[in-house]
């Protein structure tokens, strides 16, 4: 592990890392120039060959997604970049945007060239003020340097990049919610099909990609598909649908650790390695009770599951929803899972967009039930009720339009399954490991 050289984060914390000058000095925009000399389809094939899977959470193969665009479409085709990083404890995109915005912009330029899009929209969550300022300045620099605009480098390729600041809602990170929001509407996810690649932004074919994915695209152009494939985990031979988990990945470490932060590592590192080798271990000499593998919508790893590799398949094998955003949150053994779960439920009840009945009412109900349990008024049958409600909502059973509901239900199902005895004990003894803080008690 000591030999691993970060690439995505290589320029982080260097002086003036946001400026075009230093970026160019470090070889910036050479990949874009290289791409302009290639046929767009070759760029797509290169990304396909690299095995790059989307970094936003679902892990859909990026190159494959690009090929879903209609052939010979007269245009316009749009690229929408999802910078609405709103999964709790996730900040890998933020670091890229704040510290190395040009890396992201170069990836955007390359991707637009590949999919023949002349316009990219960056949808940025409102809370990211620094990212906004860094990206805004970087975009202006690119226009001034002729990297964006008309007929770039005499190639005949035009590109406009629009930076759009959202109004802060978790649902805007859902790709069709993001598109609706970009169109100026309420961010209610759309019914699929049609998928955005067929009918997306302004009813035109649209590719929605994550910020980190764009940085990976830039690195793949610079270093080649083989380089990217030299890292990570190959496909599981027993799973014909597994596309493998290649490349470097930004892992966020937060919660009860000594050294929280964002680290770049090859795909497939375990949660234990992240905590012990990169996060400085669990704080106060305590032990981890549970670890969120990639944003709270993915569920929990129990203490015995910490050796699970954090690639696209690993968390799923131990009952989590998936890798998600690869942002681990460590929960120490002094923390009540009732509190943890209550906080999760509160978040999703607050963020449910309210379009589909099961999610709108279910998330709020689960929040109310957990609030009651937390106040010591729970009954054991509440745990079954919570599981029933959680199982009834989401795109997996088919009862909602988007996956927010699955993400809201997963930690509930997961925690009750893996930590049921703790919940039972809490309910039966009225045991409160931590006195409920008044701030958390407010039921919205």
């Amino acid at each position: 592990m000591s030999t691993f050289e970060p690439t995505l984060l290589a320029r982080i914390n260097k002086p003036d890392s946001q400026s075009l000058d230093t970026y160019r000095r470090d070889g910036g925009y050479e990949g874009f120039k290289k791409a302009l000399g290639m046929a767009p389809v070759d760029v797509i094939n290169l990304v396909k060959d690299s095995g790059l899977r989307g970094r936003g959470g679902a892990g859909f193969p990026t190159g494959l997604k690009w090929t879903f665009l209609p052939k010979d479409h007269p245009g316009p085709i749009y690229l929408a970049i999802n910078g609405d990083e709103s999964e709790p404890a996730t900040f890998n995109n933020r670091i890229l945007m704040e510290q190395d915005p040009h890396q992201v912009l170069e990836g955007i330029a390359i991707s637009c060239y590949a999919i023949k899009s002349k316009k990219a929209y960056i949808y940025l969550r409102y809370e990211y003020g620094r990212s906004y300022r860094a990206l805004k300045k970087a975009i202006e620099e690119c226009y001034a340097a002729g990297l964006f605009g008309q007929n770039i480098h005499g190639s005949g390729f035009d590109l406009d990049v629009v930076l759009h600041r959202g109004a802060a809602a978790y649902i805007c990170g859902e790709e069709t919610g993001l598109i609706e929001s970009l169109e100026g509407k309420r961010a209610w996810p759309r019914i699929k099909p049609p998928f955005p690649a067929i009918e997306g932004l302004f009813r035109k074919p649209t590719i929605v990609n994550n910020i980190e994915t764009m940085a990976c695209v830039k690195q793949i152009l610079d270093r080649g598909a083989e380089w990217f494939k030299s890292m990570g985990v190959p496909p599981d031979p027993n799973n014909p649908r597994d596309a493998g988990s290649y490349g470097p990945k930004l892992y966020c470490i937060s919660g009860h650790v000594n050294k929280p932060g964002c680290v770049e590592l090859p795909m497939g590192i375990t949660a234990r390695q992240l905590i012990d080798e990169h996060g400085g271990g669990v704080w106060k000499g305590r032990k981890a009770k549970a670890v969120v593998p990639g944003g709270i919508s993915m569920g929990f790893l129990s203490a015995s599951e910490l050796d699970t590799p954090l690639d696209f398949n690993g968390p799923g094998k131990v009952g989590c929803l998936g890798l998600g955003t690869a942002a681990i949150t460590v929960i120490d053994d002094h923390t009540s899972m009732v509190d943890v779960l209550f906080n999760c439920a509160r978040f999703f009840a607050h963020e449910s967009c309210g379009q589909c009945t099961p999610c709108r009412e279910g998330t709020a109900w689960m929040h109310k039930i957990l609030a009651r349990i937390r106040m010591g008024e729970g009954q054991s049958r509440d745990l079954d009720l919570l599981t029933e409600v959680a199982s009834s909502m989401g795109i997996i059973p088919g009862t909602t339009i988007c996956g927010l509901s699955d993400g809201a239900a997963w930690p509930i199902k997961n925690a009750i399954k893996k930590f049921r005895s703790e919940f039972e004990e809490y309910i039966q003894t009225g045991l409160k490991t931590v006195k409920p803080s008044d701030a958390l008690m407010e039921v919205h």
Binding site: I191, H350, Q355, E361, G362, R372, T399
Partner: protein
């Protein structure tokens, strides 16, 4: 023919028909419950009431079912589509959805206007679980008593189907309504300072599947199970919206649009919806009168009618043009026929004219764009011609008179003194004659007014015959498009008034009772232009007068 299998029952659909699972199941006689879906609005698939299992029957006969539930509204059917709406999985999903919808619902059915015709009540009985497992307090949302002049919102009853929002965006185009807040705190609201007062606003109350949006006009007036409904046609303009007339104990409480793709579609305008109050006003004529020299001679129907009959019979030797009958476009086809035929029998030289045709402005087309201009495709039209049956009356006049004589020329002839006797069959509630025009009637030797409301003409008539409002009589209206629809007697008029058909039936000395369907057969057999009426019973959706229009679907609006 493409075949869809609904709960093991094969059902054929048209080769080019685009149906969703709900519609296909309806063909098979099965109901898939739904709230947010409405065939005239866009599909949002958000209420999740219509979840079904969907699969496909392969050519080799095997059936592959999708593992997850699908919303029936959003899933189109094609040949071989398999729909299962009664499996345990589906029933469990329906139960779950209803439990969610009722979590924060106040269950105030005893004081709710919608009770009795409420989607939540009906589905809860049919598909729900019967009790709630919610132990926590319900969300309480503030009621909004001003969504519009006619609309109030009981916010906590709302199930967020967004039909109302979509209606104002897609049908009226006025977009006053929106969803505010998020998650279970969501509420329907209007944009600040933009009340829902468009001319189609009342439809959002009908579209609301629960008791959230209520009509202020109808609020707390009646329990709906007391109401008796009759199919009718709105007389407000020549669009001829199919409606129901809801009454109890001869008091009219509300009109509701009745879906008719051949007429207006699914909706009606507020002018029609709330414009019927005249029918129950104290301006109604409630007593027949025979007057002479400014004195009332009789108020007895039998005396008035028989005196009028003999008076008119004396006109048989009058010369051409001195006896004129004006038939209002508010009269039914049957009334126009009876009067026209009677007049020509009394005096073959009698002239038949069309009563005043009231038009206001221009046709009002919906949806509107952001500038208030109509945008295509048109989804609803409020017509400028504010009468229900000009085409029907004109067909009668064409047959008996051979031409359409406008009322203006009748007035001109009265002024010039060439008319001695005028029989007016009225019905327009807006006052069909001005005081100035009424003054011209002083020149007449004999004026007979059969009308609904008192007017400047009725006050100087020698014979006044109080007729009935459209909701109080049977008959036929022909709309702008040549669609003949039956109106049915929903309630009795005020004491003293009589249905116009009955009055004219008796005046013509016909035997028996006025019966609209029999008269239609008679009219259809005698007047080629109205041959389509010979079926007698026009059915729920009416009959198009032109056979060509019968086969081709008529544009909605």
């Amino acid at each position: 023919m493409p075949t869809v299998i609904v709960n093991n029952k094969p059902v054929e659909i048209g080769p080019s028909e685009k149906l969703n699972c709900i519609q296909a199941a309806e063909r098979a006689g099965d109901t898939i419950p739904s709230y947010c879906w409405h065939h005239d609005l866009s599909v949002v698939a958000s209420c999740r009431m219509c979840l079904v299992e969907v699969g496909e029957k392969k050519p080799d006969g095997t059936i592959a079912m999708q593992p997850k539930l699908s919303p029936g509204c959003q899933t189109p059917v094609k040949d071989g589509t398999v729909i299962v709406s009664n499996s345990e999985k589906v029933l469990a999903a329906q139960k779950a959805t209803l439990e969610y919808l009722l979590l924060n619902h106040p269950l105030d059915c005893p004081v709710c206007d919608q009770a009795g015709e409420c989607g939540l009540q009906d589905y809860s009985y049919k598909y729900g679980r019967g009790y709630s497992r919610l132990q926590e307090p319900k969300n309480i949302k503030p009621d909004k008593d001003y969504i519009g002049d006619q609309i109030t919102l009981f916010t906590d009853r709302c199930i967020m189907c967004t039909r109302c929002v979509r209606f104002t965006r897609e049908i009226s185009g006025t977009a006053e309504m929106q969803v505010i807040s998020r998650g279970s705190h969501e509420e329907i609201d209007i944009f600040p300072g933009e009340p829902c007062n468009n001319k189609l606003a009342g439809n959002v109350v009908d579209l609301c599947p629960v008791g959230a949006l209520c009509s202020k006009d109808f609020l707390y007036q009646q329990r709906v199970w007391w109401l008796k409904s009759k199919n009718s046609v709105c007389p407000g303009c020549s669009t001829g919206c199919s409606i129901t007339v809801d009454q109890n104990e001869d008091v009219l409480y509300r009109l509701k649009p009745r879906e008719n793709p051949q007429a207006q579609g699914s909706f009606m305008c507020d002018e029609g919806r709330f414009g019927w109050k005249y029918a129950q006003s104290d301006r109604r004529l409630t007593s027949p009168e025979q007057r002479s020299g400014g004195k009332t001679i009789s108020r007895d129907w039998d005396v008035v009618l028989s005196t009028l009959g003999t008076t008119l019979a004396d006109l048989s030797d009058q010369k051409s043009g001195t006896f004129v009958v004006a038939i209002s476009p508010w009269a039914t086809v049957e009334e126009a026929y009876l009067l026209a035929k009677f007049a020509k029998e009394v005096n073959p030289n009698a002239r038949l004219a069309l009563g005043p045709v009231r038009t206001v402005g221009e046709d009002d087309l919906y949806p509107k764009d952001i500038h208030g201009q109509p945008s295509l495709p048109t989804k609803f039209t409020i017509r400028a011609e504010k009468c229900p049956n000009r085409r029907g009356v004109e067909s009668i006049l064409n047959h008996f008179q051979g031409e359409i004589i406008p009322f203006s020329s009748v007035l001109y002839d009265i002024e010039s003194g060439s008319i001695e006797t005028l029989f007016v069959l009225g019905g327009d509630p807006e006052g069909w004659i001005s005081d100035a025009d009424a003054a011209k009637l002083d020149k007449l030797k004999l004026l007979i007014v059969q009308d609904l409301l008192g007017s400047a003409a009725s006050s100087k008539a020698h014979f006044v015959l109080p007729g009935a409002a459209w909701a109080e009589k049977d008959g036929t209206f022909v709309n702008h498009n040549g669609l003949a629809q039956a109106i049915h007697r929903g309630l009795r008029g005020p004491e003293g008034s009589r249905p116009d058909g009955r009055i004219l039936f008796e005046l013509s000395g016909r035997r028996g009772l006025f019966h609209a369907a029999s008269l239609r057969k008679e009219i259809g057999s005698q007047i080629p232009e109205l041959a389509a009426l010979s079926v007698g019973d026009l059915g729920e959706f009416g009959v198009s007068l032109s056979s060509a229009a019968k086969t081709e679907p008529q544009p909605v609006g």
